[in-house]
Structure formats: C-alpha cells, structure tokens
C-alpha cells in the first residue's frame, strides 16, 4: 500500500488509477450534504484555503468535546457519496480540490469533473468508524458547527495512514460503473428480461 502525502499536486492526482490502495497522511476536511450545498451557493472564502490541494471527506463523525475545548473524533467512517453528485464536480473545480473520500461511489457528472479538474474519488470502508477514527490524529478546527450541527459541520483534521482505495479516477475509470453494469446484466439473466 502506497503512502500518499496531502496536499497533493494535480500531476500526482492524475497519476492515480482505479484499484490503487493508498494510505493518506496530512490535512483534509470533512463535508457532506449541507456543506456541499453551501459551497456551491456562494464562494466561501474563509474555508477555501482548507480545501485547496487536499480532499474532502464525506463524513459525519461522532465527536467528543474535551474540557479544554479541543475535539476528538470518536467514530468517523464515510457516508454515502451519491447524495453529493449534483454538487461534487463544481465543488472540486471551484475550490481546487484533488478529490473526495466517501463510500458507494458517484455518478457520471463527478467522473467527468475528475477528468476535467485532475482529481480522484477515494473509497473508504463504510461503517469502519473505529478503524478510521484512529487515523484521525488531530482536529485542527471546525467551520459551521453551530449552523450545521456536529455531523454536517466541516471539520479540519490531520490524518495519518488513512486507508482508501481509488474507485474513480481522472481517466474515466469507475469501478462503480463496472459493477453496476455487470450486476444489471446478471439480474436480467436471473429474471429473464
């Protein structure tokens, strides 16, 4: 498994291919439904520097607030990415993201966006909240906590050896499209359509 430092360059992102196992180390930011809508509705200058060059993690963590005011992630697996399909390509382009981490894969609009911007879709193991929370070494700061609540806030985190697999790349490759097509064809066989 290759270790990959965040932030990453466009060239590095374009070098990644479907099936690559990676361990990510460096800063990233969480963002899910409310965040994606908010990010496309207007340019959010305050959060923009924390998006550029890194990846957005589709995650709504369980978070503990410590007596000194700092935060720890108690559980932090990926959420279903397909809900961000209407927004993801635009968010990547506008904020110069190099990718997104989630689960379940995304659709054709995002796949095209990955090719256009030079980015990747990284799949983390859904439900593996303890394995992944242990890779989150620090919570640096948080945006929109009051407005969005704990699961939907944008948490700036530092991760070490965070395991993912590339399932959509900037060359038009998508494991999710392949599995969908194969399973649809299998279904047709099973029910004689």
């Amino acid at each position: 498994m290759a270790e990959l430092k965040l932030p990453l360059s466009e060239e590095t992102a374009r070098g990644l291919k479907v099936g690559d196992f990676l361990e990510l180390t460096g800063p990233m930011i969480t963002g899910r439904d409310a965040a994606h809508k908010w990010l496309v509705e207007a340019q959010q200058d305050e959060v923009a520097p924390f998006l550029e060059g890194t990846v957005i993690y589709h995650c709504g963590p369980v978070v503990r607030k410590n007596p000194d005011g700092s935060y720890d992630f108690v559980a932090a697996g990926p959420t279903t990415s397909s809900r961000e399909e209407p927004y993801q390509a635009d968010v990547i382009k506008r904020y110069k993201l190099r990718g997104a981490i989630g689960k379940g894969g995304m659709g054709p609009k995002t796949l095209q966006g990955l090719a256009d911007s030079g980015a990747v879709y990284l799949h983390a193991i859904g439900g593996a909240a303890q394995v992944l929370a242990r890779c989150v070494k620090r919570v640096e700061r948080v945006f929109m906590l009051e407005e969005f609540g704990v699961p939907e806030a944008m948490w700036v985190i530092h991760v070490e050896r965070f395991p993912v697999v590339v399932t959509m790349d900037s060359h038009g490759g998508s494991l999710h499209r392949e599995v969908l097509q194969a399973s649809e064809s299998k279904l047709k066989g099973l029910i004689g359509l």
């Binding site: 439900g127 394995v131 299998k186 279904l187 359509l193």
Partner: protein, 294 residues
C-alpha cells in the same frame, strides 16, 4: 416495574450494546462472507477491515459506525403499563446516550436544518408498542443508519419494467431489483427485511420488524422460507459484493413477512439494513430483573 431512572439507565445500556457490538450471528455471517471472497482482493480487504472494526468497537465500547442511525424500538408490555412513561424514559435515554457518544446527534429539523443536538426530535426515536399477556416487559431495538435507509424501496405490483405480477415470482423480481438499485450505497453486504402486502405505512413497519430476526432462523412458513433462501442465494449471485466493490457477499440475510392487503393494492416493501446490523433486546421481569438478549 422499574423506576423512571432505572428505565432510563436500562435503555441507555440497551443502546450502548446495540451501537458498540454486533450480534454474534451477524459477525459470524461476515466471517463466512470473508472466507468466500478471493484472497487479497478488494472484497476480502473490505470484510477484513469490517471485522477489525467490529472488534475495535467492542473492546473500546465505541460506536461501530459513526452513523448510529435511528433507534427503532419495539416494546411488548403487560396490561396496564404506561406507554407514555416508557416513551419518555426511552427518549431521555437517547439524550443521555448521545451525550455519552454512544449515539451521534442524529435529529435534524427538516425545515430549518438545525440539529437538535441531543438525538431526539419529532418522530425520533420511533417506538412501536404491543400489549401481551405476559407479566414482563420486552424491549427490542435496531439502530438503522441513514445510508441504508435511503436504499429502502416500495414496489407496487404489477410492475411492468420488471415483468413482475402479483405472485411470489413477482416479489422475487422486485426484491432482486432493489438489491441492484442499492449497489454498495447502503453498505453492502446488507440484510433485507421484506414485507409482502400491507399498506404503505404498515408495510414499511413490518419490513423493519423482520430485521429483528436472527440471521440463521427459518421462516415458519415453508413457502416464505424457500423464498428467503432463494433471494439470499440469487442476491449473492449479482456480484455487487462488499461496499459494491464486486464479490460474492452482497447479502447476509433476507427475512420476509406478510400482511394482508386491499384488493387494489399489492405492495412489496424492502428495508435495507447495512452490514452493521445492530440490534439488542432486554427483558425486564415483574420484579425488575434484567435479561439481556442479543
């Protein structure tokens, strides 16, 4: 039977058990699934991570999944029990379990988008009450995550696209379609709770109630038992696999219930439960003694 405080404490423990530990039959099914996958492949790696994660959650008493879901609750109570008092106690338990991070604050005001912050809200948690003749109380819960909830589906037969008529063959067709539609979005390998018949409300409730059944059990109706086994076998032939990575393990179980229907209606309702098939139960005796059931 118990004081309000003791009810709340008991329900917090019930939630903790569900959120942080999987029933043994589910873990066993995941282990068997892993054995069936190609060594070194993506599907095997996914299931190995899942099994590691289950172990970590158990030993650290922390949530298996950060989406601690909606607590869906079934209460069997003796004659004379106050369902309002039980609902108050369970709701308070949700507040406390959220403060202890066994649950994520998972209730959002739909109109304003504001999170209530304490895990409870309008319609959350959802309790089903049923009176029975026994003197004890039994409380059974599942924690159902949002990703899997989004994969639920309700079909209205006949369904032309799938050539599904109003018979068990039609049921088979639409259930397999639901599995294909879900792909990996609901955190495969999943468990299906299915209801044949009913109305749009009762059918979803029954499909979720089916998720209380242990995976290796048999349906008492031989025809439905055969249907369950066939759907499990064929679902696993679809090749969707863990996380939708492709593989042999797409489903861990299929459980089918039946309700009667109106002549005009024939619904087939599927509730999709993720691999983190979290359930726990407790029986509270007349004298307040607790029996924990998985």
């Amino acid at each position: 039977m118990l004081s309000h405080e003791r009810y709340v404490e008991t329900f917090v423990e019930l939630i903790r058990r569900a959120s942080t530990d999987l029933p043994p039959d589910v873990e066993e099914a995941l282990r068997r699934g892993r054995e069936g996958e190609t060594a070194g492949g993506l599907a095997e790696k996914a299931l190995l991570t899942v099994l590691d994660n289950v172990e970590l959650a158990r030993t650290s008493s922390a949530p298996i999944c950060q989406d601690t879901g909606t607590p869906v609750v079934w209460v069997h109570h003796p004659v004379g029990a106050s369902t309002r008092a039980l609902e108050r106690a369970f709701t308070e338990a949700v507040h406390r379990a959220t403060a202890k991070q066994y649950l994520r604050p998972n209730a959002v005001d739909t109109i304003t988008g504001k999170n209530t912050g304490h895990g409870a809200g309008r319609g959350i948690p959802y309790l089903h009450f049923e009176e029975w003749d026994r003197p004890e109380l039994e409380v059974r819960i599942i924690l159902k995550g949002g990703g899997s909830e989004n994969c639920g589906a309700q079909y209205r037969l006949p369904e032309a696209r799938l050539k599904a008529g109003r018979d068990l063959e039609g049921v088979r067709r639409v259930v397999l379609d639901a599995v294909v539609q879900a792909q990996g979005h609901g955190c495969a390998p999943g468990v299906l709770g299915v209801c044949i018949g009913g109305d749009r409300v009762s059918a979803y409730a029954e499909s979720k109630r089916q998720l209380l059944r242990a995976l290796p059990d048999s349906n008492p109706d031989p025809m439905l038992d055969e249907l369950e086994q066939r759907l499990l076998r064929e679902g696993n032939q679809l090749g969707i696999g863990p996380m939708g990575f492709g593989g042999q393990t797409t489903l861990l179980g299929v459980k089918v219930g039946v309700l009667d229907r109106l002549p005009a209606c024939y619904f087939v309702t599927v509730s999709y439960m993720c691999w983190a098939d979290r359930r726990s139960s407790v029986r509270i005796g007349e004298g307040g003694e607790l029996t924990w059931l998985s």
